[in-house]
Symmetry: D2
Subunit: 286 residues, 4 copies
Amino acid sequence: MQSDTTARLLITCPDRPGIVAAVSNFLFNHGANITALDQHSTDPEGGLFFMRLEFQTPHLDVSREILEKAFAERVAARFEMNWRIAYAADLKKVAILVSKYDHALLELLWRHSNRELPCTITQVISNHPDLRPEVERFGIPYHHVPVEKDRKEEAEAQILHLLGDTDLVVLARYMQILTPQFVARYPHRIINIHHSFLPAFVGANPYKQAYMRGVKIIGATAHYVTEELDQGPIIEQDVARVSHRHDVADLVRLGRDLERNVLARAVQWHLEDRIIVYGNKTVVFS
Amino acid sequence: MQSDTTARLLITCPDRPGIVAAVSNFLFNHGANITALDQHSTDPEGGLFFMRLEFQTPHLDVSREILEKAFAERVAARFEMNWRIAYAADLKKVAILVSKYDHALLELLWRHSNRELPCTITQVISNHPDLRPEVERFGIPYHHVPVEKDRKEEAEAQILHLLGDTDLVVLARYMQILTPQFVARYPHRIINIHHSFLPAFVGANPYKQAYMRGVKIIGATAHYVTEELDQGPIIEQDVARVSHRHDVADLVRLGRDLERNVLARAVQWHLEDRIIVYGNKTVVFS
Amino acid sequence: MQSDTTARLLITCPDRPGIVAAVSNFLFNHGANITALDQHSTDPEGGLFFMRLEFQTPHLDVSREILEKAFAERVAARFEMNWRIAYAADLKKVAILVSKYDHALLELLWRHSNRELPCTITQVISNHPDLRPEVERFGIPYHHVPVEKDRKEEAEAQILHLLGDTDLVVLARYMQILTPQFVARYPHRIINIHHSFLPAFVGANPYKQAYMRGVKIIGATAHYVTEELDQGPIIEQDVARVSHRHDVADLVRLGRDLERNVLARAVQWHLEDRIIVYGNKTVVFS
Amino acid sequence: MQSDTTARLLITCPDRPGIVAAVSNFLFNHGANITALDQHSTDPEGGLFFMRLEFQTPHLDVSREILEKAFAERVAARFEMNWRIAYAADLKKVAILVSKYDHALLELLWRHSNRELPCTITQVISNHPDLRPEVERFGIPYHHVPVEKDRKEEAEAQILHLLGDTDLVVLARYMQILTPQFVARYPHRIINIHHSFLPAFVGANPYKQAYMRGVKIIGATAHYVTEELDQGPIIEQDVARVSHRHDVADLVRLGRDLERNVLARAVQWHLEDRIIVYGNKTVVFS
């Protein structure tokens, strides 16, 4: 899917003629071979333009720093671009927060060990000690940070200290609500899995809510975490059929399979720099 | 799928040992051959038992009336059953209410003409004149009943008069809210198609709401109409994947396909006596 | 989705650096605003490169002819491109061939009347007279061309005469096998709907075959017609779950819904110039 | 989903009136409370009748042996039934055969540890040593039985010795073809996962075949193993959408997710006695 010489350029800017030509010329002239290109524009909302390019770097005629400086001056400024370049060789550092359920966590660890998730999993942090053996078996450090009711901020401070400059925080069924201060530290860099088809069944016990309402389809939603609970930009969703034969325990069991797949896809797309957030929505070039 | 000699017995009662034996014995002893049997019980909610039997009537040794009287006395009373028998030979009378969109209506008319919907479509009623030619082509009467803002009850009175003892009212994108008085006349006999994955996006413009929220899956929901808007028992739902590339018009277009299929399935199941309502939920023996 | 000023450029060529830059520059320099761009390359098979661009023509500084001539000389020749430009304003002429089943035909006619299929449906040709009223109701000419067993070529000659320079021939459950001579007249311009999940169940009675084999999922396949029966490039497929409860008639009924949706999508993509054929496969930029 | 006091009665017999009444009476009269009942009949094929009942045993008035003897004499003989009773308390003994791929194996082990698979996994047997640590971590014995090209029967003899009276053998991507002699020892008790949507792409390298054919949907199939390779009764199938963007490695990766889910469902249904085989097909009361 990708090699160490892959780089990705992500762009958001006002829509205007000539962007593709300017960007592709710039890259071509510096020896970068474009191997994938996706673009999108949103007319009704004022003409935003989004682009993702994958290019190969072996024949670059300049260093990363010079390439980026030149791009900023010669292309980005002219089109008022919000942009960044990510290099596949720079593996992202990922920390996973989890409570007691193991399914979403193990799915990520297994896919990572199978080379489906290009990243370094630096640590798993949990408010419970239960999953330590599972995690350490993969050679990944496990930190138990208990969260006591009245000392939540102390726990968060400890977690922040552990996280440091982590690139991505994944909440793999972490049953604690993060404070706005915490969330603000990692803008669009915290991914949560919600066990319902948002915006249906926000809040607690979504499977119970789904059962009581008698829905015929249940879902799971991976989204970036923002200050407002369950309201962040949706990255991915999936659903499964249910019937009157499924009680709440069945929904929980079926939902587990949804949760782990949806979360794994969302994390993979983030790691491959396929997601651009704008407003409260995402463009996913998958 | 069914012949004119098919009958269906639908039962709801407190769960208790011996029900299947009592019912199957009763039918066997009267010459009814059971050709399908579904049952369901809901432990956590106080032990309700649901059963649907399909049986063939050619070798019945008594008349319908005597059979039903005997069943009431010898079986139903003992188990405190809420029950009914429906005969496939008695085609249900169905009226369709529609506004201007033709997709859900045409799907029903086409499936009916293809013998997928065992019923008599007695009439189509609309608050607009537009769809008359489409409907009359199928040989079905079309009634135009305009609804003026301040004279809604007059219109409803006229519709009630037209409907008479209709067995089922289908709202195939009928853009008027029915009064509680109207709804009360046809309990669990009005099916609506809502163009969202309920309970997400209740109310007006669900596709617009879905677009604004940035969901990755849209849906449609067929439900029985109750006094509370968009809150009635859900019969069937289905979904389709969408992405940032779909604008509101695309969602509307994709949603049309969902709406017509979901509504058609719900109507078919109702006509085949596959649905039992309890509380605000359905058991669908499909 | 599209306006009359939309044009599409489709390119197949050996993969090489600089293609995107060359093409986007060329279009930009002639006043064409690129509004969509998809590309794909197939490394393992010798590096083929595929691209589809949508651009807007109102500010073109030259005529179509000059634009195309210039592109051929300045860009296409250099990169050894196989290419074409299609203009949305030039509605494609489509003929539909059908036998007795109406479902796939009606779906196309309904979607066309709903403006989902940008084309002119010039005629419907059938080896049976049955569907004439359905078709003429849409204001579309209906030609009955009977096919007698030993005089198939006579019938084909008549059909060819009717078709003339049709852009696309759609086989909407046309139950006659076309001769290689016929097929050769419309290379990659005849779309068929096969009622199975190809390559499973080629040949006759696929639903019967599926039933006998006891599969748990059935499918439908839209493909371009080539000389070899059921072997042409696949455009689109879809599936539905079945169980032991479904007899052959049920599979036929469920399959109808698959067939009409799969065929409609394939036709729409062809009309929007989203399909590139290479070898026996398709690239679908949907 | 089930308790230790659950039993299941599975019946296949010629279709005839009175079966449900006779069976349900018999169970009721012996104090067995029926908690689930599914039936199916196949008219077109000579009228076979299938039934699965779940009943609770705490109030049985006789021992298992006496119950079964009485059923055989008083009910089964009269209706020429092929039948068996399975008791949930008698956990089935399951052996898993695997080669080098871990995904299907780990899915089964994880679901088993999560109590989704009611059985005892007695051992894992592999022709490679690689997966030993993964398996032993779950406390399950791992046997490495190498298969040398010319000494296959020796290896099979060793495996048969290890298996003994195993109730179910699961081939979780075991890359050796079993001899007919081996298969005959476990009729309808060996489940295999085939990495294609059977009957498409039988034989080797199905993902490569699917890629070459250019299909738009790939699948996986769980089936009972019979003498004929890839021809046994299908238990479950599932599919995923693919496009021209997916190369063979992508298909393999997507297929892994299908394989583990499809195999897990098939194994679960077998363990819950939900499957009846007839001819080369299955009835799955799921």
